[in-house]
């Protein structure tokens, strides 16, 4: 009897119902993962650019004096290159900027020589150490970034994937493995994103996106909860890519970010 009454009352209530508001817009539950990935990708792209500059400068330094203007024009067209009197410190100036954009301290060995260790400073931003592990492989350590990404650090290995030693660094491809952290700070939120490569990042030279594929494992902590992101992505073309983002166990696919 009670069940029948309950059924009848429920039926009446359903029959008398009407909609007062349509469905909410479906939220993008992976937005935090997307944001974490975005900051990390910015960080990695920036390090790729620093690495790229270092290799280009190495080519410039190694070139005979007669070819230096051509190398400068080809690789470092936006810069004026100057060096200290003993050629151990090199400066890259951009336009009429009075301070050098880059300062590179060499150990007098070419960067393609095993054991060579260079120090790269980008004005106001980064301090990086680059060491040559073997002919086509370098370890890139970013330390003491104090302005734009405070506390950012990285330990990445860049390995050239071209069959031959890439003398033409402009078109060289690399694979990148390692870890990097990105600390974000503003007046109300401090977030440390820890990143490690699951599959090496495949750096593609001269592409719209630096990375043609690979996957990252990211984590960030907030209020004692650790959020985990895995991002697996590949370039469909030089100008489009797909990213499968898994944020806290749930997956979503993006055609771009």
């Amino acid at each position: 009897m009670r069940t029948k009454i309950y059924f009848i009352v429920s039926l009446v209530l359903v029959l008398t119902s009407c909609e007062i508001r349509g469905p909410e817009e479906k939220p993008d539950f992976a937005i935090p993962g997307k944001q974490m990935f975005g900051y990390t990708e910015d960080n990695l792209n920036r390090m790729c650019e620093l690495f790229d500059i270092t290799l280009k400068l190495n080519t410039y330094i190694e070139a005979p004096d007669s070819l230096k203007p051509d190398v400068n024009q080809k690789y470092l067209a936006n810069f004026t290159v100057k060096s200290s009197s003993d050629s151990s410190i090199w400066y890259l100036y951009e336009g009429s900027w009075s301070d050098p954009v880059y300062e590179v301290i060499t150990d007098s060995k070419p960067l393609t020589t095993e054991g060579a260790v260079w120090l790269l400073k980008k004005y106001g931003v980064d301090s990086c150490s680059v060491s040559c592990l073997q002919k086509n492989s370098w370890r890139f350590i970013e330390i003491n970034s104090v302005y734009y990404y405070p506390g950012t650090n990285a330990d990445l290995q860049f390995t050239c994937t071209d069959t031959l030693t890439p003398h033409d660094y402009y078109s060289a491809n690399y694979q990148i493995e390692g870890e990097c952290n990105t600390l974000l700070e503003d007046y109300s939120q401090d977030v440390l994103i820890e990143c490690s490569t699951v599959n090496p990042l495949k750096h593609k030279a001269d592409s719209y996106y630096n990375f043609s594929g690979g996957s990252l494992l990211l984590s960030a902590q907030e209020d004692e909860i650790t959020h985990i992101v895995t991002a697996e992505y590949k370039n469909v073309t030089d100008y489009s890519r797909t990213i499968i983002m898994t944020y806290d166990g749930k997956s979503k696919s993006y055609s771009d970010l």
Partner: protein, 218 residues
């Protein structure tokens, strides 16, 4: 029960009693027999269901670097059962009645997973209202009348929310009431009624059935 509720209730009882004794007796001379009226009805779209928006805030105080507070679910369409109510009125004179109304309605919606649209929970908010009512009949014929009425009282709201098997409940109190500018009845002993110009807890239009019982008190 709060003090103000007890106070309202006492006023209602007092008004009912004095109306019976004083007004009722005076009416007798006009050949109007006091009546007990019972009604059940339905109201369309309780007042709260009307969307009242002041627009989006023009100033955003803070946008976090990473917004971790993103829901992984979303609400489906929200419904109301519309108001279902019962009403008692003591029609003390041909123009004046006093009574009380109880009303029930609820809002409900389901929640769905943002990843795969699977059902993950629901929200049901039930509203129980009680308010004394005054009715002023300003046009009366044997089988037709028109009236104005209003009432103000209390409401008890029970909200139950469940998402991903996490259940939360909430209880709160607020006011309830109904103002009817124009209401109609058609019929004699058993009659139909409709409040066609009304607003409040019962909605923006009501319909229902009523029954008149001649009071035995003289």
């Amino acid at each position: 029960m709060k003090k103000e509720h007890i106070f309202l209730f006492l006023i209602f009882i007092f008004a009912l009693f004095t109306t019976e004794k004083v007004v009722g007796q005076r009416i007798m001379s006009n050949n109007f027999q006091p009546q007990h009226e019972f009604r059940i009805g339905m109201g369309y779209k309780p007042f709260e269901a009307a969307k009242i928006s002041f627009g989006d805030p023009w100033f955003v105080f803070h946008v976090p670097l990473i917004d971790f507070n993103v829901d992984d679910y979303y609400s489906g369409a929200r419904y109301t059962t519309n108001a279902i109510f019962g009403e008692y009125t003591y029609q003390a004179s041909s123009w004046f009645g006093i009574g009380a109304t109880v009303t029930y309605f609820s809002y409900y919606n389901n929640y769905y997973d943002a990843e795969n649209d699977a059902y993950v929970g629901r929200n049901i908010t039930s509203h129980y209202s009680f308010f004394p009512t005054l009715r002023f009949t300003w046009f009366r014929r044997p089988a037709f009348s028109m009236y104005t009425s209003f009432g103000l009282g209390v409401r008890y709201v029970f909200e139950n929310d469940r998402v991903h098997n996490v259940e939360t409940s909430d209880f709160r109190e607020s006011i309830s009431g109904q103002f009817t500018l124009l209401g109609l009845t058609i019929g004699k002993k058993v009659y139909c009624f409709s409040d066609i110009s009304t607003i409040g807890t019962q909605g923006t239009i009501t319909i229902g059935l009523g029954y008149r019982l001649i009071s035995s008190k003289r």
